[in-house]
Symmetry: C2
Subunit: 385 residues, 2 copies
């Protein structure tokens, strides 16, 4: 059982996944709020918006037209953060020079995709059934599989995915010629999370370098494995299933928790229960169970404050190009970082103290989990109709 003292006192918790600490101040939610209010969900959106660059059949910024797709559709971002071709850059390296220590740069190439979740402009993952979310997971699995390096330890699983998982009838993206290192699949949902188009979609950024966060997680997971002989998230799943205090929902394949080290008020971690290294390790029934898990998180989020709940989410899995040892270190999981704290309009700001000193949260993860456990009913929008 949770030491009840932690419900009342200020304390720090350790995040073993990234090796850093955060401050928990459970008593602090009582403070009044007179600051910025988030815009609550606006006017009803149309099912098709002729101005939207993601709706089927519409024209995009650089002149291409979207096909009249049914479920998902992926294309190269017209304003990619990384490009496939660019001028070469070879930093000078001289060992004794302070510049080579303090002014370090590495070139990064890659490709960024946008991927729609549905043809309907006015839907969200929370509105979709698990069966409707399944094509998204199939597309994620196929795009990941098609971008794996030829010598990747999961190449056999990838081949099977590309053979057996239904192809998107509306077309698929071809991987670039140059092998890339990592694929980051993520969603920004809601204006509060910098999303500029409500049409349901995610992004897929592939890069020649392993980014900071998954890189740090892999180091932490590998250290844990070496010291303890078991996987960090294997032990964590087991612990959470014993303690039960932070579980939001689970099925046979996935556990949804507000992690012990959650920074955002209603932060959630979806963790594979067995050792899944990447999307291509998922069996048919696990893909549908993953769709179920995503449905459960997003519906509960919307129900919590009866709003279109903003969040950023992302998958962490094995790099596109890696050794067997690196792949074995990875344990498939999905993070959800939602900003709302008290209502549809009052968010948590991770600002001054959080930026300069360490992240600070106002309710405990156990309190957040209890609230998310309790709002699993029908999507509030449906019961209003």
């Amino acid at each position: 059982m949770l030491d009840k003292v932690l419900d009342d006192i200020s304390h720090r918790r350790y995040n073993p996944l990234n090796g850093s600490w955060l401050l928990v101040s459970p008593h602090r939610t009582k403070r009044p709020w007179q600051g910025q209010q988030e815009g609550a969900s606006k006017t009803k959106l149309p099912e098709y918006d002729p101005e939207c660059y993601l709706c089927p059949g519409n024209k995009r910024a650089q002149g291409d037209s979207n096909p009249h797709y049914k479920h998902t559709f992926a294309f190269v971002n017209d304003y990619s953060a990384v490009k496939e071709d660019q001028q070469e850059y070879h930093p000078e390296v001289s060992k004794d020079d302070a510049a080579s220590l303090l002014l370090q740069a590495q070139p990064v190439t890659g490709r960024c995709y946008v991927l729609t979740f549905s043809a309907k402009h006015d839907t969200t993952l929370a509105d979709m059934t698990a069966q409707e979310i399944l094509p998204v997971i199939q597309t994620w699995s196929r795009i990941y599989a098609s971008h794996l390096s030829p010598s990747h330890p999961l190449q056999a699983q990838a081949a099977q995915v590309l053979r057996d998982v239904p192809k998107n009838p509306d077309g698929e993206v071809e991987p670039p010629k140059k092998q890339l290192r990592y694929m980051q699949i993520f969603e920004n949902k809601g204006a509060a999370m910098g999303c500029s188009n409500p049409h349901p979609h995610c992004q897929v950024w592939t890069t020649s370098e392993l980014p900071q966060e998954p890189g740090t997680e892999m180091v932490q997971m590998s250290k844990y494995k070496q010291a303890n002989g078991r996987h960090l998230l294997e032990d964590y799943v087991k612990l959470e299933m014993e303690k039960k205090e932070r579980i939001v929902w689970q099925n046979d394949a996935f556990l949804i928790v507000c992690p012990w080290w959650a920074v955002w008020p209603f932060e959630v971690l979806v963790i594979a229960k067995r050792h899944v290294r990447a999307l291509v390790d998922l069996a048919d029934d696990e893909r549908i169970q993953f769709a179920d898990a995503i449905q459960e998180v997003t519906r509960r989020y919307d129900n919590l404050f009866e709003t279109n709940f903003p969040y950023s989410s992302g998958l962490h899995q094995a790099p596109l190009d890696c050794t067997e040892e690196e792949a074995d270190t990875c344990w498939f999981h999905m993070h959800f970082y939602p900003p709302l704290l008290r209502s549809a309009t009052v968010r948590k700001f991770l600002v001054g103290y959080e930026m300069m000193a360490e992240p600070q949260r106002d309710i405990t993860p156990e309190q957040a989990a209890a609230r998310l456990r309790d709002c699993g009913g029908e999507l509030f929008r449906k019961s209003l109709q």
Copy 2:
């Protein structure tokens, strides 16, 4: 000279202060923005607001009244994130148990202060002269000095500050009986940075533990010192003064740069040019030079987009309780993290990719520094009057 290639290509840069990487995409500012707009500066504020809990003479949430102070005024936050007294918590530690690795917590006690910069409700640091900012720095110096541990290596300097630096005639805070470890001074300015009261003020959170960020910086600086025999920021100041590409402004005591590793579009670092370990190391003329530097940063920020520029800022310096070696590792500096990117209403969102993979920025620090160098004239509000 900066390798001009970095002006055009995507690349990563390394932050030696915290040991992490960020992605720079210089070509990406061309993308159109249809997302959230920040509220631009509202209606004119009154010089005195009877509803403001920070204005002189007013009543606060828990019933206390502010004195009729002249410049600055410090009091214990009515909704502190940490408290001095709380129930004890002794985590069980068993070496073989996964729970002791994955569910780690530490109790944290401390005290949080609020400190006003001026009696005037409608002013900001950018509106104040360096002479008017000086009392703020004097108060910071005295509050830091009065909270140092009795055996602190900077105790002699602290005693001198408490003797020679003018006392706030409107009263000062007494340190708590229990010695604390770290004092984080920071400001959240503007609604976009979670600030709920425009009355100019900062916060001072003191804690029994060394927080994550200054802790990481100290580890990084100490490693650098051991490997290279010089201070990380000593070398960095020298480099930037040679290269000149990222300098915004300087005087004899302080250098203002957009650091090589800046994450926020117009992020700025104010660095002491000589080895200042903490506020109490500053000589009289250095305190006024520090006030000058803060004036230069905040005025340029407001001039850049002709707005009341939001930011979070914070000081990093020696812990309140530390060894001589720890104190010597520290090099006094101040971070400014401002969110605006393109105009008074369009900010940068550090969301999906930034949270899941690594921070990404759209203009180079060199471009940001050039723009801040060029807007050092009179405060735009003054020239409008």
